[in-house]
């Protein structure tokens, strides 16, 4: 804590203690502590003062993710996220005017090379070789103008922690934690990243992302299974596509299309700036206005209208891999703010959270047929109707099929028998306490505040969902289980062990 007797802070804190001690003990509210502003261009700002240490967590979340990609360009949102680390017209370059000339030439050659590569066997090997060599020459030439990873080096020498970004199906988030006296550094760099990004080194970064795919999906049987599972569960909605992109799209992603994607979606109205930590609201707001209000407003394209059609019957797939068996089962369900969504979070708790959860007891502890069983209530995202998903790992010699049968039995129980009150209370308390634990860190607070604001237009989203969870009754659980956990609504994927091409 800062030792400076800041009156306002203590007053605030004091009010806050009275509030929580007056309530039931576990209650806690962000109300009054989070300040919300809208900049002139429509950009949202959320700020929260926490003076535990002189540091700040800084999140910029854009309402754009893999769902916003068109077919044929899967992986664009994520590749763009990588590209925004490459700098701007003033960061990462020795002389942008000179550099730009070479970048243009590189782009033409790379496009010609991509076109040639796409011909495959029918292409001209000599032309391809020539283009490859030309590209390499130009890239070498380009290096003379580049200051490598300058943004990262500036941040790191200023003491940044956790400088990173993440792309999900729903949103893209740029994160850094800085010593509190360096807020302006962040405003300077990030506003520049949004205003003047330069997608330099595009083609080598595209290769990096292909390696990322090889590492995270192609060499990882479990992730492969999830990818195939999603592609089966969604036949129309882009939630069925991998965030990192299909390999055949990834190999040909275009710089121009990526820039176009940036211009379309990184609009102020899609942007939430979230600052949590040792800061002063008024002066920080002035700073943000100065740097971020220059970013021009833009018209957003119409929202995605595709909705997943109702599933007409069970879907079932297998993935063969040199790994031990796994099982995934998913059921379509609505997303927030649909009131049924909160019921699913309670079901998630009842079935798989903790050692006293129903499936843990039945499959892991008593039946000893599973190593682990878990579930997720908003998979793979929450901006659109999504899935309730089970992941289960059988213990040798038990099979995925045995686990499947047991999971269905547990779902039948939910459909036929009302959940006892204490069990429901236990689950609710666990969810509340887990939320309290996230409040202990600037970074996690910034994560969730920006999440609610960006996806649902409301930073109170987490608290509202907690309130909705408080209201869930045993009848709700039974009704929701009956409505959604039907064979017709499910997709089942199993990983089948093979070694040297043979099943085992």
């Amino acid at each position: 804590m800062i030792r400076n007797g800041d009156q306002k802070f203590w007053a605030l804190l004091l009010g806050f203690f009275l509030w929580i001690s007056g309530a039931e003990g576990h209650s806690f509210s962000l109300e009054g502590r989070v300040k919300e502003f809208t900049l002139r261009n429509g950009m949202k700002v959320l700020m929260m003062e926490r003076h535990q240490s002189p540091t700040v967590a800084l999140y910029i979340r854009f309402r754009v993710g893999a769902v916003d990609e068109n077919l044929g360009m899967t992986g664009t949102a994520h590749l763009l996220e990588h590209m925004l680390f490459k700098g701007t017209k003033t960061l990462g370059t020795k002389n942008y005017a000179e550099e730009e000339k070479i970048l243009t030439r590189i782009e033409y050659v790379a496009m010609a090379l991509d076109a040639e590569r796409a011909k495959g066997e029918t292409g001209d090997p000599a032309l391809r070789k020539h283009l490859e060599e030309t590209l390499q020459e130009l890239q070498k030439e380009h290096k003379k103008w580049v200051i490598k990873d300058e943004i990262e080096s500036i941040y790191s020498e200023n003491g940044a922690v956790g400088f990173n970004a993440m792309t999900s199906a729903d949103s893209t988030t740029y994160v850094v934690n800085l010593p509190a006296n360096r807020l302006e550094l962040w405003a300077r760099i990030e506003s520049d990243r949004i205003l003047n990004p330069v997608l330099r080194e595009f083609y080598s970064e595209r290769q990096v992302v292909m390696e990322e795919r090889r590492q995270s999906i192609d060499s990882n049987p479990e992730r492969k299974l999830i990818e195939q599972f999603l592609a089966t569960a969604f036949i129309a909605h882009p939630y069925g596509r991998p965030i990192i992109g299909w390999p055949s799209d990834l190999a040909y992603l275009e710089k121009r299309a990526t820039e176009q994607f940036f211009r379309t979606f990184y609009s102020p109205e899609n942007t939430v700036l979230t600052l949590v930590g040792s800061l002063e609201i008024d002066s920080t707001l002035l700073l943000l206005r100065k740097y971020f209000e220059r970013i021009p407003r833009q018209i957003l394209p119409p929202p995605l209208r595709t909705r997943e059609p109702e599933q007409m019957g069970e879907r079932r797939i297998q993935v063969m891999a040199d790994a031990k068996p796994q099982l995934i089962i998913g059921f379509h369900k609505p997303n927030p703010p649909d009131p049924d969504d909160a019921v699913f979070q309670v079901i998630d708790g009842l079935l798989t959270t903790g050692r006293t959860s129903r499936l843990y007891k039945k499959l892991v502890e008593e039946g000893k047929m599973a190593v682990e069983v878990s579930s997720a209530h908003g998979f793979p995202g929450e901006r659109f109707p999504n899935l309730f998903v089970f992941f289960a790992t059988p213990r040798h010699p038990h099979t995925p099929e045995e686990l499947e049968t047991q999971i269905y039995r547990a779902l039948e129980d939910l459909q036929t028998t009302l959940t006892p009150g204490p069990e429901l209370e236990k689950v609710k308390k666990e969810i509340q306490t887990r939320f309290l634990r996230t409040l202990n860190s600037n970074s996690r607070l910034a994560y969730w505040l920006s999440y609610g604001q960006c996806l649902f237009g409301d930073w109170r989203f987490m608290e509202k969902r907690l309130q909705a969870i408080e209201r869930v009754t045993a009848e709700d659980v039974r009704r929701v289980a009956q409505k959604y956990f039907r064979p017709k609504n499910r997709t089942v994927a199993t990983l089948v062990s093979v070694s040297n091409g043979k099943e085992r």
Binding site: S53, L91, I154, P179, E211, S278, K324, H396, T433, N440
Partner: protein, 484 residues
């Protein structure tokens, strides 16, 4: 920031801003653009003054050391307990004992209460009680809402003082461990780090890995005597942070653990690994589109005077993100990998350094050659003053993040004591980083960086490599155990 501001400054600043806003209307955009695009390296920041709070250290009559730190922001209490124990004390033919015993302790119930009823009580309060084991430490944590702490603590104390090691739970835990072993060849990274340790730490318990046989052989009596041997107050450090009053908490802890009796805990010296005298190359054949490559060797231990200079060296080589040499060349310049870099960990008796990379099969040899060039290059071309400055600034400026939460502050003080570090180790850390010179780094690189005597380990499909591994020297092949 606030502490430095004089009373009048807000107004001055405000009027400046108003003026500035008018300028915004009067001049073309370029005028302010220039101001707002000032290079970050030319920006100045107000100084940061911060005296991190300290946890209070108390030693109970039975030898239990406890750190206390009040932090009333959120109505939660967090407790950690660290024991000097771990997998290095497992008998060779009982490898996995510490893991199994620690979990059997947690899951096994007490003399008065069944495992199920303990879990019911804990989970009805949403209390977390978890234990995890390392090679030289066992750590357990308890986290509850403030009103529930007393009740949860009583359960923890019962488990410590009269654990039951329920046979059914023990059986379940052994089965879980066995299944984990059966699945331990599914993931290339897991294979890589396991085999790396086995070879680099061969001849010491640091290199031992549990097998189905060693886990199956573990008996309940062995688990019980493991608990009797290591769970002693004088062999433990405790830390408590969160929403409580310190004096009340001290009293509660004193009362709760009054009957926990001290006794002599013998921790045998198990030796430390010895450096290899030549290059060693190992290949694990696995049908994958991407190779996992590790190259490394032993490095200065935590207490070595070269620990900090080597840490900085590692930061420059590959530990410092995009601007470190390995990442810049292999990822950023050549696009050969998503994951590439280096790591250095100084443990109490020895340290380990390694470079890692995952690259498509057809660029495996190319990456290995780059590893050799870059690691060798550090010794040949020497390090630039600018690199050293960058690494030092980064390590020093991010230092305040180690005090971000009360739990972290408590943990840092515990770590200092647990690793037998001097009491000012962490507080003086930034000063000691600042003191490192280029000459230090050059000497440390010469003395402690040895790519020519490193262990090179590759997991991948050799047929698809750009060149066979044998171009680097004789290759040993590791056959993975097949579990059906």
């Amino acid at each position: 920031m606030k502490s430095m501001k004089s009373p009048g400054s807000t107004n001055r600043r405000l009027s400046l801003l108003i003026l500035w806003a008018l300028l915004f209307l009067a001049f073309p955009v370029a005028a302010q653009e220039e101001d707002l695009l000032k290079h970050p390296r030319e920006m100045n920041f107000p100084p940061l003054s911060f005296v991190p709070p300290e946890a209070e250290r108390v030693v109970l009559p039975n030898g239990l050391t406890v750190y206390f730190m009040e932090d009333p922001e959120i109505p939660l209490v967090h407790l950690s307990l660290w024991l000097r124990a771990g997998s290095i004390y497992d008998p060779r033919d009982r490898s996995g004992l510490a893991e199994v015993a620690a979990k059997a302790w947690r899951e096994g119930g007490t003399h008065d209460q069944s495992p199920q009823s303990i879990n019911e009580i804990l989970e009805s309060m949403a209390a977390l009680l978890e234990i995890s084991i390392g090679r030289e430490s066992v750590s357990l944590t308890l986290s509850t809402q403030t009103p529930d702490f007393r009740r949860a603590l009583a359960i923890l104390a019962d488990l410590i003082l009269k654990p039951a090691f329920d046979p059914a739970q023990l059986d379940l835990i052994k089965k879980k461990e066995i299944e984990a072993i059966r699945r331990s060849n599914d993931n290339p990274e897991e294979i890589a780090y396991r085999e790396f340790r086995k070879i680099l730490y061969a001849g010491t318990p640091f290199g031992h890995v549990p097998s189905i046989e060693s886990v199956s052989a573990i008996q309940r009596e062995e688990v019980q005597s493991w608990h009797r041997r290591f769970f002693k107050p004088n062999n433990a450090l405790m830390g408590i942070s969160g929403d409580f009053r310190k004096e009340e908490m001290k009293k509660l802890i004193r009362e709760t653990f009054r009957t926990w009796e001290r006794s002599i805990v013998e921790l045998p010296y198990v030796g430390v690994p010895t450096p290899k005298d030549r290059k060693l190359i190992y290949l694990v054949e696995k049908d994958l589109p991407q190779s996992t490559i590790l190259m490394g060797h032993l490095a200065p231990p935590l207490h070595h005077p070269d620990h900090i200079p080597f840490k900085i060296l590692d930061y420059i080589v590959g530990g410092g993100g995009f601007n470190s040499r390995l990442t810049r060349e292999i990822r950023s310049n050549q696009g050969l990998a998503y994951s590439v870099g280096s790591f250095y960990r100084g443990r109490v008796g020895f340290g380990v350094f390694g470079a890692y990379c995952q690259t498509q099969s057809s660029t495996t040899a190319r990456v290995i050659r780059l590893f050799e060039e870059i690691l060798g290059g550090i010794k040949k071309d020497k390090i630039q003053e600018s690199e050293l400055e960058w690494a030092k600034k980064a390590i020093v400026n991010r230092y305040i993040f180690t005090f971000s939460s009360s739990a972290q502050i408590v943990q840092q003080q515990m770590e200092q004591e647990f690793d037998l570090l001097p009491p000012d180790f962490f507080r003086t850390y930034p000063e000691r980083v600042k003191a490192v010179t280029l000459a230090d780094l050059h000497r440390v690189a010469d003395e402690h960086l040895h790519p020519e005597k490193a262990l090179l380990l590759v997991i991948g499909k050799e047929n698809d490599f750009d060149q066979p591994l044998s171009i680097f020297g004789p290759v040993h092949r590791i056959e993975l155990q097949r579990y059906d």
